[in-house]
């Protein structure tokens, strides 16, 4: 049976290895799509609607087409069609400079017949509201219902109940590198695309189909990319438009979204509103859970969220609906549905615990069937100093009050088949690992190098990792669902093992030993039964002559495992005069399976926590109900965590087994509940609506007073 071996035998796997691309990134040498400039390149721009709902009655491109420096103008919507949200695409231009392209957008004449719209969920659900979908009732999809057990019987058993409404707003992805492509036709039938994407082969296949090209004639390159978080799987309107502008002009075209467009059209995490009633028995067992909830994914649907979450409840009734509004559509965003649901559930757990007079951590222990999380509760509580928590919420003295909270999460991340990879050993001793995956910044490039270097007794710098490129024809799946490492790592591992075996076959005659008696040392190959028989790596590969060993691998499911648990503890300080919440420390205990690279795994955890902090304290898409426009489609008014907001984060890589799991998403889940509960523990007032901004804190304190 394949295995990653014992931890004590690992030279590199599980250690803290600096990421291979780190130096390139911090020195600016790394080329992102945004940095790609091709000879003769034109600049693409898209004209977008500033109104949220309208019928297009006329588009006249003439003036723009006649402007000096403009090389192509194309409509992206026909007269008679509907605009459904601010930011929707109307027309596109390609020009010699970006400034000319911007000027050309202003020269496009568009006539719209504005229509009534709904910008907020409250407006959308109001009686007589304008309808986004003709076949929805009151802008709400048909309810999705679920449940188990007997909820009424459960409540009859309950000693305490809590009824509350929890809300999280729409959050945008805020990829630091906006969506975009640089596109170049090398001839009429061959397209090269530099794409900021999570799915090199997804973009290749989608563009090929849309442009009616054979898939192998679309070459997609993603050497480095600046964040996707679930929003960058397809080429999008901007990618297809860039390809068409390039075809029209026979020139390369760069088309990157503006920051404003990134907020408006490039996806978002849907909102969530949960009305929950839950009950627990006197001995602290969750017994009944009844939830009605809704959220908005903009014009489309898909506003999913979890509930109940993580903790065991025997009697459940749930009802969820999507609410349509005239705003840009949602896309998958880091652990879709989980952070919202975890915030609601962990807040609810604390509210029930308080009614029972129980420590919320003990209440969780009683209702959490995960053995992993039970151990994590102990470890995390020790690390944060849980004993220092206020036994009575808000009982601290002084203007600045401190509190602690806990939250939990669960994720899959077990990977899947269909990654193809090759590991090559050349006669000069060089080693290449090639696959079509892409590095979103998570560190898969380094993880691949670690696996191969471990197998061959080399260093990570000895391994040439070729990823983010469709040209070698080795497809790999998109990076989503925390699936990349558990999908790629087993294939690389088996490919390297196969290549090693081939090399051993060349070396065995020289060492006069059977192949199965050969072992890898540090830069050497030796005979296990006679350690005096040794060759260096270079001597061994020199035996290949003109031959190159090139081996593929298999996705061995024994090398990976899904299902990761996590828990986080937060300590906060709330200024009761300003309402400002300062996070002092987050302890994030994250089940990771086998962490190929402990350093980048910790980075994953840090990143998830930071994103969770943003969702808890700062981020919210604010829609103007009067105009239907987003009021904070920038990075000045749409706040994401900066150095002032990021506290001490203690990532604890919680080793559970020697199989690879994905951790891209899970660390952002427990943060929300942990912070919200810590705020309550500090000030004794529950804030059930995110983000927890100073105005909400002050209002809550005023109401309490």
């Amino acid at each position: 049976m394949a295995s990653w071996g014992e931890a004590s035998q690992s030279r590199l796997i599980g250690k803290r290895i600096t990421r291979l691309s780190g130096k390139e990134k911090v020195t600016g040498k790394a080329k992102y799509t945004y940095d790609i400039n091709r000879p003769g390149m034109l600049y693409g721009r898209i004209l977008r609607s500033e109104v949220p709902h309208a019928t297009v009655t006329e588009i006249d491109l003439t003036d723009a087409q006649e402007m000096p420096g403009v090389r192509a103008v194309m409509p992206l919507i026909e007269a008679g069609r509907k605009i459904r949200y601010q930011g929707q695409e109307i027309a596109a231009v390609a020009a010699e400079t970006d400034d000319i392209a911007k000027d050309a957008l202003r020269a496009i004449y568009v006539e719209l017949e504005e229509l009534p719209f709904v910008a907020t969920e409250a407006d959308a659900m109001a009686e007589g509201a304008p309808q986004v979908h003709d076949d929805w009732n009151g802008n709400q999809s048909n309810p999705s219902r679920g449940g188990q057990g007997d909820v009424e019987a459960g409540f009859a058993e309950a000693a305490v109940t809590v009824e509350a409404t929890y809300h999280t707003p729409v959050q945008t992805h805020v990829c630091l590198e906006t969506h975009g492509h640089v596109v170049e036709w090398t001839d009429e039938q061959n397209l090269t695309v530099w794409a900021s994407t999570q799915a090199v082969f997804g973009v290749r296949n989608d563009l090929a189909r849309r442009l009616e090209l054979p898939a192998n004639q679309v070459h997609v390159i993603t050497e480095h990319m600046g964040g996707g978080f679930g929003s960058k799987f397809s080429p999008g309107v901007e990618g297809l438009t860039a390809a068409r502008l390039s075809r029209m002009t026979e020139r390369p075209v760069k088309l990157m979204l503006t920051r404003k467009a990134e907020h408006l059209v490039a996806g978002n995490r849907p909102s969530m509103t949960q009305h929950v009633k839950a009950g627990a028995t006197r001995d602290g067992r969750l017994i009944a859970y009844d939830m009605r909830g809704h959220g908005t994914g903009g014009t489309g649907g898909g506003a999913g969220f979890t509930g109940p979450y993580v903790y065991h409840v025997p009697n459940i009734r749930t009802e969820r609906t999507n609410v349509a509004v005239n705003a840009g559509s949602q896309r998958a965003m880091r652990a879709p549905g989980h952070p919202q649901g975890a915030f609601a559930m962990d807040s609810l757990m604390d509210e029930l615990a308080e009614k029972l007079g129980m420590n919320p951590l003990e209440f969780r222990r009683l209702n959490d069937e995960s053995e992993v999380r039970q151990a994590q509760y102990t470890l995390g509580a020790q690390e944060i100093g849980w004993h220092r928590r206020n036994s009575v919420a808000g009982s601290g003295t002084g203007i600045k009050k401190r509190g602690m909270g806990v939250g939990s999460g669960q994720w899959g991340g077990g990977g899947g088949a269909n990654t193809q990879a090759r590991v090559n050993i050349n006669a000069d001793g060089t080693v290449e690992a090639i696959t079509g995956t892409q590095d979103l910044g998570t560190g898969i490039r380094t993880a691949i190098a670690i696996i191969v270097a471990e197998e061959f007794g080399l260093t990570t710098e000895d391994i040439i990792v070729k990823i983010g490129d469709s040209a070698p024809g080795l497809p790999a799946g998109g990076s989503g669902g925390s699936q990349t490492t558990p999908s790629v790592a087993p294939v690389i591992k088996t490919a390297a093992a196969n290549a090693k075996q081939k090399l051993f076959e060349h070396v065995a005659p020289l060492l006069q030993a059977p192949v199965d008696d050969l072992r890898i040392g540090t830069g050497t190959i030796y005979v296990a039964s006679d350690r005096t028989k040794t060759v260096t790596w270079q001597q061994a590969t020199g035996l290949l002559g003109q031959e190159t060993i090139s081996e593929g691998g298999e996705w061995d499911r024994e090398l990976r495992q899904g299902g990761v648990a996590g828990t986080q503890f937060a300590e906060v300080e709330v200024d009761t005069q300003t309402g400002h919440v300062k996070i002092l420390k987050i302890v994030a205990v994250q089940d990771c399976g086998l962490a190929i690279n402990r350093l980048t795994t910790e980075s994953q955890i840090n990143g998830g926590v930071i994103m969770g902090i943003g969702q808890t304290l700062l981020e919210e898409r604010i829609m103007d109900p009067m105009t239907g426009r987003m009021l904070n489609a920038n990075l000045e008014d749409y706040k994401v965590p900066g150095t002032h907001e990021i506290p001490e984060i203690k990532p604890i890589v919680f080793d559970t087994h020697r199989k690879v799991s994905g951790v891209g998403e899970p660390p952002c889940i427990p943060t929300l509940g942990a912070i919200a509960n810590a705020v309550y523990n500090a000030i004794g007032v529950r804030i059930r609506e995110l983000p927890i901004t100073p105005d909400k804190v002050l209002n809550a304190l005023a109401e309490k007073a």
Partner: protein
Amino acid sequence: MLDGKTLPIFKRPICQNLRTKALYIPGGNLQNLVKENPGTHYWCNCTMQVVGPDDDFVSPNACKQSRSCFDPIGGKPVV
């Protein structure tokens, strides 16, 4: 092109332009387009938006053969 009316694994034809995230990631496949998941996002590869070329919304339930833009996986049925 298939000579049957539908792919054997599906109870009804699926439009090859319908997209959802699960299609792109390891472990996902076309089965993710068979049953509508109200908690996920769908889009059209023709428009790259949540509406199809006919300006109606897309989803497994909405993308039916009766739509003018419907383009089944495996090609149009052979009569």
